[in-house]
């Protein structure tokens, strides 16, 4: 079993759910990435999604778009991100990005570099199971888990496919839409998680539009973990300030993590 499975196993034994945090690599500056990852792990992140900036992020809302744009303006590249990651191993890292920059390195090349950087898996926002065959081979060769997304619009046949090819965990998209900017969590996410549970024993995490401890608590009632992305990206951009915002950030992350614990 991989590191991601171990993490979920440990959490289950403790009766906790997973706090999954997303950051855009290179926003704030790439030099700060190791310190940011340390802070997130310190605050209680169980798993970290490291976003690889892409020029045309069609699955992302305004917050992550702007963040990717800033990272690219700073000259951040996929290889640069992987270099900056190497050495971090406090919690499992999942790379999250789009197909084209991976293809550009060739899929086996990207998979090898991702493993060398210590990543445990990947989420590719614009890759569906039908197009993922070549990537699955490359990822498995390097021992990387591939996490697919399941959507409220997915048919039963599609959920079967997503469950069949996912490794590590499943990412349930809370609603139709892009990342970030959301109203409250509706019933769609809970219904989707139930449909996934009927098909797989893999842990199911819910993401898109989750930003407060209350959101996390609500999701953790029925899912194995909650993904917080845009809120954190926005917070880092505003308050990180070269590390001066570390203490305040730690406090907020701890509050999010507390919401994944029993009786919270």
């Amino acid at each position: 079993m991989g590191r991601i499975a171990d993490t979920f196993g440990t959490l289950r034994a403790r009766g906790e759910k997973a706090l999954v945090l997303f950051v855009t690599a290179g926003d704030p500056a790439l030099e700060d990435l190791p310190a940011i990852l340390d802070t997130l792990a310190e605050g209680g992140a169980d798993l970290i999604e490291v976003g690889l900036p892409f020029s045309d992020p069609i699955a992302d809302g305004p917050t992550i778009q702007a963040s990717s744009h800033r990272a690219l303006e700073r000259g951040v590249t996929t290889r640069g991100v992987l270099d900056a990651l190497a050495g971090f191993d406090r919690v499992p890292v999942v790379l999250m990005g789009y197909t084209n920059p991976m293809l550009r390195m060739t899929l086996p090349g990207f998979a090898a570099a991702a493993r060398a950087a210590g990543a445990s898996g990947s989420i590719v926002c614009d890759m569906i199971p039908e197009e993922g065959g070549a990537w699955a081979v490359a990822a498995r060769t390097e021992g990387l888990d591939t996490v697919y997304l399941a959507a409220p619009t997915s048919t039963d046949a599609r959920l079967d496919a997503v469950c069949a090819v996912s490794r590590g965990f499943l990412y349930a998209v809370s609603r139709t839409g892009v990342t970030g900017a959301s109203s409250r969590q509706g019933d769609e996410a809970e219904a989707l998680v139930a449909r996934l549970r009927a098909r797989t024993d893999l842990p199911v995490c819910v993401g898109f539009g989750i930003s407060t401890p209350e959101d996390v608590r609500a999701v953790c009632r029925f899912a194995d973990g909650a993904v917080v992305g845009s809120w954190l990206v926005d917070r880092l951009a505003r308050d990180w300030d070269g590390g001066r915002g570390r203490a305040g950030l730690l406090e907020s992350i701890r509050a999010l993590k507390d919401a994944t614990r029993p009786g919270s």
């Binding site: 020029s55 045309d56 069609i58 550009r104 048919t155 139709t176």
Partner: protein, 398 residues
């Protein structure tokens, strides 16, 4: 061999579906509904009747006598500029909006660069009584103000896009994001033969009327087929629609991309001539990208060709060696723009002017060759920009 529906949405290695999972059921539904509708005589009759009575099809073939003399070729022009709304774009907008209505979708979204596809979609939505939202790069809303007004007059909402480079590719990104969010009641009318399967196939089918008509008209008038066919290529919908009827014939096909300031300068929009394969907007095809796989900014005098990607079938036809793709610079296109206006009394769209540059390309055709050029749209929308570039201001008019 060229007539089959792409297997798993592929043309050779190109095409496919690289999209967020949320959209896949909608793409599946679109694929099966399109397949059913296209085989349904009632749907075909509605499409063909409106193409005739509303769009004005068939569009004529014009023998370009003076242009033939000047070029030493036998030039004939397919007149898509005479379609209602002024370009071939309406063929696809009509087909997709009828399909959307059949699927019970009440809201239509579209992206537009120069505004031609946006105007065509807004027009058909007015005709069919559908809600219409058009995404347009902020830069383009300024450059093509007249088309923004036309769309608003037709009842569409124009959403300026201020993300990324604020041009066509960003309008496409934003339309995709809208679709992911509102997919249950919304149909996204992509304006070109690109995007995820089934779009490249479906848009080709709606546009293939251009080539079918042109081939039959040419045969009837000349008793033979042309030696060559030429069209401009941005995303490539007019070109694929025009080429398709000729793929099985001994007719040389030439696609003219936007060479901008020259393909050597990097400031162009010619992915087939100077790009590499990659994934953009849901499809694997030639595109303009840097070493890191980031999409590169493009440049063309023509907003409609100012796009870093191209339809998957063009990538296939390039690699199969069936179609020759070349690039025409801004300067060459502007020269052709004036040349066609003065010799034939036809003012082409900047996009379409690129196609005519082929007639002057050295060694491309033999003297006396019969060449059929697709004039995909008329140039009224480009008048303000043309006057600016060519210096036809009020003071220069004397």
């Amino acid at each position: 061999m060229y007539d089959v529906k792409p297997v798993a949405g592929r043309f050779g290695a190109f095409g496919g579906r690289y999209v967020p999972e949320t959209l896949v059921p909608a793409l599946d539904e679109l694929e099966s509904e399109f397949e059913r509708a296209w085989a349904d005589p009632d749907f075909r009759r509605t499409f063909e009747n409106l193409s005739r009575d509303y769009v004005g099809r068939p569009t004529p073939l014009t023998e370009a006598r003076r242009l033939s003399e000047a070029s030493g070729l036998h030039v004939t022009i397919k007149r898509e500029d005479l379609c209602h709304t002024g370009a071939h774009k309406v063929n696809n907008a009509l087909g997709q909006c009828l399909l959307a209505q059949r699927m019970g979708k009440t809201r239509i979204i579209a992206e537009t660069g120069a505004g031609q596809h946006g105007v065509a979609t807004a027009t058909v939505c007015a005709l069919l009584g559908l809600e219409c939202v058009v995404y347009m790069g902020e830069e383009d809303t300024v450059r093509q103000e007249l088309n923004v007004f036309r769309m608003r007059l037709l009842g569409a909402r124009v959403e300026p896009v201020s993300s990324g480079t604020r041009t066509l590719k960003d309008a496409l990104n934003e339309a995709m994001r809208d679709w992911v969010t509102n997919v249950r009641e919304t149909h996204y009318v992509i304006g070109t033969a690109a995007g995820p399967h089934p779009y490249p196939w479906m848009v080709r089918e709606f546009q293939s009327v251009i080539g079918r008509e042109a081939r039959a008209q040419y045969l009837e008038r000349h008793g033979r087929l042309p030696d060559a066919g030429v069209a401009c290529v941005g995303g490539g919908s007019n070109a694929i629609g025009f080429f398709h009827a000729f793929l099985g014939d001994d007719v040389r096909l030439v696609g003219m991309e936007a060479g901008g300031r020259g393909v050597g300068t990097g400031e162009h929009a010619a992915p087939l001539t100077a790009g590499t394969p990659g994934v953009l907007h849901g499809s694997f095809s030639y595109m303009m990208q840097d070493d890191d796989g980031q999409v590169q900014p493009t440049h063309s005098v023509s907003a409609g060709l100012d796009y870093p990607g191209v339809g998957a079938e063009h990538s296939f036809l390039k690699e199969a060696g069936r179609v020759t793709y070349l690039a025409a610079t801004d300067e060459e296109a502007l020269a052709a723009f004036q040349w066609i206006a003065r010799l034939e009394g036809l003012i082409p769209a900047f996009e379409s002017a690129h196609a005519f540059v082929a007639l002057r390309a050295e060694g491309l055709f033999k003297p006396g060759d019969h060449v059929l050029v697709n004039l995909s749209g008329r140039g009224d929308k480009d008048m303000a920009r043309a006057a600016e570039i060519l210096g036809y201001g009020p003071a220069a008019s004397a």
